[in-house]
Symmetry: C2
């Protein structure tokens, strides 16, 4: 049972390989399938903050344009970490990941997620942001985390639901699940409202 | 492996039946055992906000007073929900739980957890608070949640990590894990500092 009557109207598709997003969407007790279209995640360099994941979510949705059936609704999403006025994506190496975590240490950053709901004839985009405050991380703590958790698939090189999140994050302001990659409460509201 | 050298000095005991607290403590990669002493959770009526869980955490620790060995450290904790200038504990009935969730709906509340670390000769108490903002909950959403999740062991009648948390909570300010019953980042810091 779900409160989302949209399920009667559309077949829901989640276009994300992230197991975190897949698990969060399951919590809405919604039937959905996963379908991925590979795209190059390139965005105009002048974009800032939420503009980046909003752009990329829409780009990911655009890739479905020609394939959507009348009864299909695709959900795409993109998440970035914004700190010291620039963006952190997924790390490319151990050194890169180490340096990202040093940047986050003793600092505040903001996690932005853009989400796009797309059908054949319409689309709705929204986003959410959460401020995250790390305490000062010790060098050994960063090393331990990188060796044991290998966060190479994660924007900003960390998962809030992993050891480093438990021991290092003092507080957040906003949605916890947004930091995991999907602002699930907003998504639920948008799906409830989605009517065309 | 852990960064908590305290493990070499003390046998850690967690005095809590809450599976959520037990799982959170496991995330610190710490060896511990669980030992419960039943006490009556009664506190002076003039206490407010954090004073209540601090008092109850200390009361729970006191129950171990005569039994602790020199090499034992016990962790006790208590969590309350504070809303509209009064306290919500665990619900006593379906009606009571329903009315608690109606109170939380479209409202801000604060979750306070008190934690006590106690050895034979010393003790350290600390607390954390997190503000939680529920959007307006529909009557049917509350009914669905109570019927399917039966949150009768939870202060305030909800678990943030359950369906109602996913769909109903707009944002939090503070530690997410504190809302689950244990401010795990603060606890890690206090265990690291604990030296007597």
């Amino acid at each position: 049972m779900t409160f989302l009557s949209i399920e009667n109207k559309y077949k829901i598709i989640l276009a994300s390989q992230s197991p975190r997003r897949q698990n969060l969407l399951k919590e809405l007790k919604l039937n959905f399938e996963i379908k991925i279209k590979e795209i190059e995640e390139v965005y105009p360099p002048e974009l800032k903050k939420e503009e980046i994941p909003v752009y990329l979510a829409e780009l990911k949705a655009l890739a479905f344009n020609n394939d959507l059936q009348n009864n299909e609704l695709v959900i795409t999403a993109d998440t970035i970490v914004w700190v010291n006025n620039s963006v952190l994506g997924k790390p490319t190496s151990y050194q890169n990941a180490f340096s990202m975590l040093e940047t986050l240490s003793n600092n505040k950053h903001t996690v932005y997620t853009g989400v796009c709901l797309k059908t054949k004839n319409t689309a709705k985009t929204f986003w959410a942001s959460t401020d995250v405050y790390f305490r000062k991380l010790e060098k050994q703590e960063i090393e331990y985390y990188l060796e044991h958790y290998k966060p190479y698939d994660k924007a900003g090189s960390y998962g809030i639901q992993e050891w480093i999140g438990y021991i290092g994050i003092e507080k957040i302001e906003g949605s916890y699940f947004n930091v995991m990659g999907l602002p699930i409460q907003k998504l639920y509201d948008e799906l409830k409202k989605f009517n065309t």
